[in-house]
Amino acid sequence: MPILPVVLWTDALVYLLLAVVAGFAWYVRGQEHLRAPWRRVAQAPAAMSALVVLALFVLVGLLDSVHFRPALPAAAGAQSREPAYAVEVESVLDVLLSSLAKRPERTYSAPLATHAYAKETIELPGKDGAPARQVRDYPRLKYGGAQLHDPQREWKADVLLTTFRGAALALPLWLLASLALVAACNPAERVASRAFWHALWRGETELPWRAVLITLVLVLLLALPAALLSAHYHVLGTDKVGLDVLYQSLKSVRTALVIGTLTTLVMLPFSILLGIMAGYLRGPVDDLIQYFYTTLNSIPAVLLIAAAVLVLQVQIETHPDMFPTSAQRADFRLLWLCIILGVTSWTGLCRLLRGEALKLRELDYVQAAQAFGVSQWRIMLRHILPNVMHIVLISVVMDFSGLVLAEAVLSYVGVGVDPSMISFGTMINAARLEMGREPMVWWSLASAFCFMLALVLSANLFADAVRDAFDPQVRVGARKLRLRRIEA
């Protein structure tokens, strides 16, 4: 089927980010002094477990960042040779999850339910020519558990069996995956030795293989049964308009990742440039830059974001012709949100860089470069910039989780992502209104909670390890601490 690829603005930036990360990794490979701190990150069990989880989230987010418009089936009798494309923009993830996305119920249903959540009036066909009766009962769902003839008897066995099948499938898959992973990352003779596997079992390998593999098996044990179950059920229930909650949660991942990463990426050039300039050049340049960021900083972040998003809303509503599809409009708003979040959060990094550049400019090697007549820009680029990169890296990874959390709050305030865009914030916001229902509709909230916690917690754990590995101050402190423990 022909498709029309669509590159949204955020998609393009995600690809750019991917290229930057790949280039950075390639560069680090050849530099021992840069590899060393990453090795320390790789030796932290918590960080590597978190990385496994993060990698899965990133995979979901990347699959959701390849967009296209599927071609519509040619209308009968249509003469034009140009294929017509759907207005809806889909992603690869949508295609993979089409069994979830394309099976809407009418309204709420509980996780794994076979019947709707609320009673409705159902028309029963009359028996033996008797007139049809009307009963108030829970109607069967259109898709959830539709393959069961008698849900009351079969449901429990079916769910248990499917879960068991999923778990049984997960274990061999895990064994294969672990073998492949371990073999790919270790030299052959090491993998062949018994001692290595013993060490792995006791958790004494240099890289924390045990923690990684345990995380992997846990994730697989969750994911595979859920995948099998979702063929016939709505594993996490459905929301008000009958959309699968699991699908929503997976779609939210991209929004969260985009906000968490692009925000810092967008503003990174400015904060690096201004921070280093202020610290290195000092004098009036420094005063001006300091004045600039203090002023921006004094406007309360939420209010500045609210003001900017209100401004954007006016722009969008007065220029509807700029955005042909609703996905493009939502995407533009997401990008704008990233930019404005960046404007409110870049000042912290800028101040840190200024302080570091102030320190570095007094060091001997910079003085020597000055004495040789190296130009100021070249000194900043070649001598200052590489030596503040660890600060940039730490602040990027530390900011990520805060930004993901901020998105939820902003969407609640009404200045977050476009209401049509699926995100954790919009999920929580929609679910919040149903708190008062009896019985309570809890599954949307619970799903958003679990997915967000998994994402933010693993991001926090990973960020901590990165900070510990790259921040010289922390490292000295940790060594002191370790020494004291040995003394005690």
């Binding site: 401004v311 509503e317 009404g414 929580i428 917690l457 002191k480 601490l481």
Partner: protein, 325 residues
């Protein structure tokens, strides 16, 4: 020292002018009053007359910066910039887009905000410091390890979930306090207990972890080793020396948010139905009332700048080196 403070005050005033210019540009230049009027009146089917009338009623029908039609000093005062932005320095915020006096709303609404935010700040700070002190005192033990784990988990949970969880558990399941609402005087207490508890718990994770690093940094300094070498007990070292010295960065760091307490919390106030400035702001954002948002941006920045000033002053009080610079 007074010269230093005067210098900071003058600097703060310039920052306030900068904020004023930025908000003015954002609200009137990027987004002209015509756009706002069109949006308020509904985007389609708007006649130019309706827009002109809307603008005239709210005083947006003047030139932005320079009124050539007026005479004398009025060339500058009879403009949108002067009437809507410069007047803010006199705390004259004008009317909101639905015609109410913003200054009056702010005066009445800041007290409920303060009633919520001040206890959250004080109790939260005390709890964070206690927790951090405990972790630092038992550093490099399981108490410390699991304490940090708890902190990281707690700071990984969105604040919205603390509110939703608290409302569900305490108010709905156990029926201890009302879900939301507010009353004046001492009746407010039962409405405030839950929001305060939620606010305190929501902030413990990141706060305690941050203060723990400050305590540890302080505990690694040379004078602490000297104190131990003198033969002081670990308890004495910690509570007499480390705690006192670590309180300096902690308290000077906390000073900056004190004025902002008047602004209240956006999310918590609107969830719990407390008629403070936070819920006022959120309502204004949702109804796209630009006049109110503009005023709140100004007040928020003003309070933040006051907080910065207080920080500077508190530094001069606790650190004599700043005084002599």
């Amino acid at each position: 020292m007074y010269a230093y403070i005067v210098r900071r005050v003058v600097y703060a005033f310039f920052i306030l002018i900068g904020v004023n210019l930025i908000t003015f540009a954002l609200f009137f230049k990027v987004n002209t009053p015509d756009d706002i009027a069109r949006m308020q009146l509904g985007v389609k089917y708007v006649t130019p007359e309706a827009i002109a009338k809307w603008k005239a009623e709210r005083g947006y029908d003047k030139p932005l910066l320079y009124n050539a039609a007026a005479s004398g000093g009025q060339k500058f005062t009879d403009t949108i910039y002067f009437e809507k932005s410069v007047e803010m320095f006199r705390f004259n915020f004008g009317l909101s887009d639905d015609g109410r006096d913003i200054a009056y709303e702010i005066r009445t609404r800041m007290w409920p905000s303060l009633a919520l935010a001040l206890p959250v700040f004080l109790v939260g700070l005390a709890l964070q410091i206690t927790f951090a002190l405990m972790m630092a005192f038992f550093r490099a033990t399981y108490v410390d390890f699991w304490g940090v784990v708890l902190c990281v988990v707690m700071m990984s949970v969105s604040g919205l979930f603390y509110i939703i969880g608290g409302q569900y558990l305490i108010s709905k399941l156990w029926n201890l306090v009302p879900i939301s609402g507010y009353a004046s005087g001492f009746d407010a207490l039962k409405f405030l207990l839950l929001p305060i508890a939620v606010g305190v718990i929501g902030g413990v994770g990141s706060g305690a972890r941050w203060y723990r690093t400050i305590f540890l940094e302080e505990a690694g300094k040379d004078y602490v080793r000297t104190a131990r070498a003198k033969g002081l007990s670990e308890t004495a070292v910690f509570f007499r020396h480390v705690l006192r010295n670590a309180m300096i960065p902690i308290l000077t760091g906390a000073v900056v948010v004190i004025p902002l307490l008047f602004m209240g919390s956006l999310v918590s106030e609107s969830f719990f139905g407390i008629p403070g400035l936070g819920s006022y702001t959120i309502e204004a954002i949702q109804s796209q009332d630009f006049a109110v948002v503009r005023s709140m941006v100004f007040i928020g920045s003003l309070l933040y700048i006051v907080g910065l000033l207080l920080t500077d002053i508190s530094y001069t009080l606790v650190d004599p080196r700043v005084r002599f610079e």
